[in-house]
Amino acid sequence: MSIELSCKLSKYAHIFEDLKAEDIMTKQVSTLTADKKISQAKEMMKIKKISGIPIVNDENKLIGIISIEDIIKALETGEMEEKIEKIMTKEVISLKKEDNLPSIIQKFEMYKFGRFPVVDEKNFLCGILTKVDILHKILDKFNLIYLHDKKRNSILNQDLSLITGEKLDIKKAEFKHQIDTTDISRAGEGAAILKSFLINKGIDSEIARKVGIAVYEAETNVVIHSKGEGEILCFIKKDKIIVRVIDNGIGIENLDQAMKEGFSTAPDYIRELGFGAGMGIPNMKRFADKLVILSEKNSGTQVEFVFFLKDK
């Protein structure tokens, strides 16, 4: 269990690495001194709805902790009017202010306590840390990431054509198609739908056919090679059609080679299906009026086509 959780956490370690116990803990702590009666501790728990109270000396140094379980025991043995000192746990497992999230979680898993007092290097009590505090802090962190993502998306959604520099509002693309990369036999479906879409829009069928062929090649490349997810976007402008086929996959390592007719990295089983002839990109070049491919290893690929509409 603990190994599993640590593993899960390690994936996100970089997000939380700057998070310390003092950032997570609750600073307002209800405390008692050891000379108070156990019944007082019980009252405090009831009123404040808490399940454990750190016990401190006059200097606010941590000397013990009393939990709801201790109170129950005292109730059973009729010791409620005794001093807290008598039943409190004296060897307190506490957290240091500087402890990071993985070590905090490790402690929660190791001891199964619901809360840990947080102390400084001189054992002065600074706060208390519960599982709920951790949950809140993690959610705060995700909230931040989400906001950051939203901002980034709004910038990403306002894009310029790689070829003509025209503004493209990704959100308002006339045509959007999510490429199904799980099923090779369906590769090319998006291109076919796009072609019909363009014909329905009254685009010249010869141009629609060229779009279909070029996009077919880009689409099958995404399915066969990218190992990621991809999308087809189409923008109909007054004098041209701009199509983008983008994926977040492994990218193209050597574009010069990929452009060459006959060069292919397709595995044999793909070739048996009639793909991987090394004609994908050459075909795109042949059927599009303009073509730009942006790719980097492990950073996905963006293909942009421009097809000029003929003057009527």
């Binding site: 590769a187 090319g188 056919r209 077919y216 090649e217 099958t220 299906l273 002839a277 075909n283 042949r286």
Partner: protein, 113 residues
């Protein structure tokens, strides 16, 4: 030459009958990108490929008929798609070479008349 005229001249199994389009020529290849690049509208396409992509290729290239060489049949799913797109699917036990030769004679002879 119409598809049904070809069917009168050659013994072919019909897996799906689409629109009765005019066949102007033919193209033989199993490489999809090669077909994409070189087949012409109105061609009958001879191939051994049987998977879904052949329909997408035929549709994009306005290929009205696909002739499956070396026999065999297509999956229900592929045939259904062919039906939707109105693409004729034919099949024959003969190989690509024989089928291409026969169709060449038939179509070229037909054009010459």
């Amino acid at each position: 030459m119409k598809i049904k005229d070809i069917l009168n001249e050659m013994k072919l199994e019909v897996l799906n009958i689409g629109k009765d389009s005019e066949i102007r020529g033919g193209y033989s290849s199993d490489l999809l990108s090669n077909v994409m690049a070189n087949a012409k509208e109105g061609d009958i396409w001879i191939t051994v490929q049987k998977h879904m992509n052949i329909i997408a290729v035929a549709q994009l290239k306005k290929i009205p008929a696909i002739l499956i060489a070396n026999g065999g049949t297509l999956s229900e799913e592929v045939l259904k798609k062919a039906k939707e797109e109105g693409i004729t699917i034919l099949s024959s036990k003969e190989g690509t070479f024989e089928l291409s030769g026969k169709l060449y004679n038939l179509l070229i002879k037909n054009q010459a008349l």
